[in-house]
């Protein structure tokens, strides 16, 4: 889909730009108001969720609505271990436990396709939510848990690092033979199988990798919420937002996922605080407009602009 080849010169420039952005992001808490740091943390969280969702779902075209179960698992890992172990370790464990859960469900479900898979993953999320609710009420004798809170600057850095790692992983997978194999699964699964790709193993592995980042993100976000219960931790919203954000930004491109997560998070907050009574209506209308008029998402729009203005849009097609 890239219209120009990346020469070594451009690569260097791109790297330099990346480093500048990173330095900027890393020093941000020193001179920016705290609330913007908190907002950026939310954006990073959604970038992690969207990009990690897309690691699996974009190339294979298996739309997963199980994100909430992996994210929530991470939250509960923090709730249980947060007071005992340091943050990076708990975040790692959160990711691993979520991965494990994804492996198990992957074994069960990744033989399903299309609509069946979508429905199953959503059902799975709800199943996890209700079972943990049952567990909390009947075994723990409570509903919510207080969790150990962490300063918002630390949450910011943790999320920044995780977002960075997620992006590197997503980029590396796209560029590898592994990524190509995933794409071939999405395009024609039988053909991929006949070409000697172990499709089931590939799918399960990718599903688990994607779940790792969601779980880790959950473990970090739990520190901000300070009180959690199953309906907070496994909120169905978390399953739907990454899908919407990826579509909004443009599902084919990595930077589309970043753009979608960023723009939609900011948009949601502006709408929510400026128009509390029309929030849902406006949000829905904007999503509808993007899906109807921008089939390639924001990225499609930007690429047109990039290539020489919106006016000449027929020249390229």
């Amino acid at each position: 889909m890239h219209s120009f080849r990346v020469t070594s010169n451009k690569k260097a420039l791109f790297l330099a730009l990346l480093i500048v952005i990173l330095i900027f992001a890393a020093t941000m808490p020193l001179y920016i108001q705290p609330y913007i740091i908190i907002s950026l943390t939310s954006i990073f969280m959604y970038i992690v969720l969207t990009v990690s969702w897309a690691i699996f779902s974009a190339p294979t075209r298996y739309i997963s609505l199980a994100s909430a179960s992996f994210f929530g698992t991470g939250i509960y890992v923090w709730a249980i271990l947060g007071s005992a172990l340091p943050l990076p370790i708990v975040v790692g464990i959160g990711g691993l436990v979520s991965s494990l859960l994804a492996l198990l469900t992957g074994l069960l479900t990744l033989r399903l396709r299309g609509l069946y898979f979508i429905i199953f993953t959503f059902g799975f999320s709800e199943f996890v939510r209700h079972s943990s609710q049952w567990w909390e009420i009947n075994i723990s004798g409570t509903e919510g848990r207080w969790v150990v809170g962490v300063d918002h600057t630390i949450i910011y850095y943790a999320m920044l690092i995780l977002a960075f790692l997620t992006l590197i992983t997503a980029y590396a997978i796209r560029r590898s033979r592994f990524g190509l194999a995933l794409q071939s699964i999405g395009q024609f699964e039988e053909a991929a199988a006949h070409a000697g790709i172990n499709v089931t193993a590939m799918k399960i592995m990718t599903f688990a990798i994607s779940a790792f980042f969601m779980g880790a993100a959950g473990a970090i976000m739990a520190t901000r919420w300070s009180y959690i219960d199953p309906s907070i931790a496994f909120s169905p919203l978390i399953s739907f937002m990454p899908v919407l954000m990826a579509i909004f930004g443009g599902i084919g491109q990595l930077y589309g996922h970043i753009l979608g997560a960023g723009v939609l998070t900011i948009l949601a907050e502006v709408l929510l605080t400026e128009f509390p009574y029309y929030y849902m209506l406006l949000f829905g209308l904007i999503l509808l407009a993007v899906i109807l008029f921008l089939p390639h998402g924001l990225v499609g729009l930007m690429e047109k602009w990039w290539k020489g203005g919106l006016a000449g849009k027929h020249a390229n097609t």
Binding site: M28, I32, Q33, P34, Y35, I36, I38, S39, S42, H130, Q133, I137, N138, G141, T142, E143, G144, W146, G149, H152, M221, R224, W225, S226, Y227, I228, D229, I232, S235, L237, I266, E269, L272, T273, P276, Y277, Y279, M280, W305, W306, K307, G308
Partner: protein
């Protein structure tokens, strides 16, 4: 298309981003008091919030501003209130973020409480961190007792499960109840009350024949209600949230479940409960609370009249009055402290006594010890106080009359 054009476009993007980040915040001069709240205007909590809190917040702000504002000695004048209201969508993550926005970006002077136990518990650490008093009218949690020392800025208006449970058990003993079916919503409210009341019933020699929980918003409870009917218990004791309260009332009539005592929780005290089913059908139904315009506290009757006039609907007979009393308490604490310094206001709150529409509010630790009543019963279209015994505005009607 050359590279220079491309990178200049990129530069434009980066600059726009930088502008967004560096957006300056508003400076506030002290000619007004900025008060904010993040509360459920949509989603499953909005029914409760829109009944007990939002109308009282709005009305109180209007009343205070009609008086010219809150008198603050430090500034030698009355400061009117500017009021910011955000929607949490009934989502706790959003609530946490919006409270942070109100504190850090909007730089409000005071915050009004969100609705519901879970949300209040979730935002309490933030209120505490930035030293904002949280005077919660819709929080009931025994778990808070062990945490009280960690939350010096948290003040709870409503009766706690312990007080509520003691009153229920006392009333049941008086009425000769021997066997009960205890059901509850699987939410903090239901769980905590059950945890406290079940052992208390046991101590009083009252048997819990059926104990069952169900998720909030369960669409059909008839199987459970039939089971309770078959068990022929003396009392149905339900720690429920509004959707369940309405559903159980309707379905109990359908299956013909009519024990001597019929007690459900959040929602029973709503005027819309009486409004939906009619005074005849709710006759004899008991619920927690309770407040009504006949309680012997100054301003109660006037508050009721103002609420009816302003909103063309009655306030509910429980937390509405507590929500309004919480606002009265805050106002008095600010005026007594004579400053907008929240640390000083907290100290006033922790030690003072504040006359309100629910009576003289006084906090023991973080818990308000004053309540106009614990158990109410619909009688002739009014939610009368039937427990505790000394607070009664009417005698309990037992057994509950049959469904009409």
């Amino acid at each position: 298309m050359n590279d220079i054009a491309k990178y200049s476009k990129l530069a434009v993007c980066i600059m726009l981003f930088a502008l967004f980040i560096a957006f300056p915040c508003n400076a506030h001069s002290k000619d007004k008091i900025l008060i904010g709240t993040a509360i459920a205007l949509s989603g499953p909590f909005s029914g409760g919030a829109g009944m007990t809190q939002v109308p009282n917040f709005d009305m109180w702000v209007e009343e205070v501003n009609a008086r010219g504002g809150i008198k603050v000695k430090e500034y030698g004048k009355r400061l009117p209130i500017e009021y910011i209201k955000y929607d949490t969508k009934s989502d706790i993550g959003t609530a946490v973020k919006l409270v942070q926005k109100l504190i850090l970006e909007d730089k409000v002077d005071f915050l009004l409480p969100p609705w519901g136990t879970g949300t209040c518990l979730a935002v309490a650490p933030i209120f505490n961190k930035y030293k904002y008093p949280l005077i919660g009218p819709t929080v009931t949690s025994e778990k808070l007792r062990e945490k009280a020392h960690a939350f010096p800025y948290l003040f709870i208006m409503l009766q706690m499960p312990r007080a509520q449970g003691a009153a229920i058990v006392e009333l049941f003993k008086e009425l000769g109840i021997k066997r009960v079916a205890l059901i509850h919503t699987a939410a903090a409210y239901g769980i905590e009350h059950t945890n406290v009341i079940k052992p208390a019933l046991g101590v009083a020699g009252i048997n819990v024949d059926i104990l069952k929980s169900f998720p909030i918003g369960t669409p059909d409870l008839t199987p459970l209600l039939k089971k309770i009917k078959a068990a022929r218990v003396d009392a149905l004791l339900g720690f429920t949230y509004p959707p369940d309260t309405f559903l159980i009332t309707q379905q109990a009539k359908i299956v013909g479940l009519n024990p001597k005592v019929f007690y459900l929780s959040v929602g029973v005290a709503f005027p819309s409960y009486k409004g939906k089913f009619g005074a005849a059908m709710v006759e004899g139904v008991m619920g927690p609370g309770v407040w009504n315009p006949n309680v012997p506290h100054p301003g109660a009757r006037e508050y009721f009249a103002r609420h009816v006039k302003r909103w063309k609907k009655e306030p509910d007979r429980w937390a509405s009055a507590f929500a309004y009393a919480g606002l009265q308490t805050l106002e008095q604490a600010i005026e007594t402290a004579g400053t907008l310094d929240r640390e000083k206001i907290r100290d006033v709150l922790a030690t003072g006594t504040f006359p309100t529409v629910v009576g003289p509010v006084k906090f023991d630790g973080m818990f308000n010890v004053q309540s106009p009543g614990e158990v109410g019963q619909w009688q002739n279209g009014e939610f009368e106080v039937v427990a505790a015994k000394e607070k009664r505005t009417a005698k309990p009607i037992v057994p509950k009359p049959p469904w009409p």
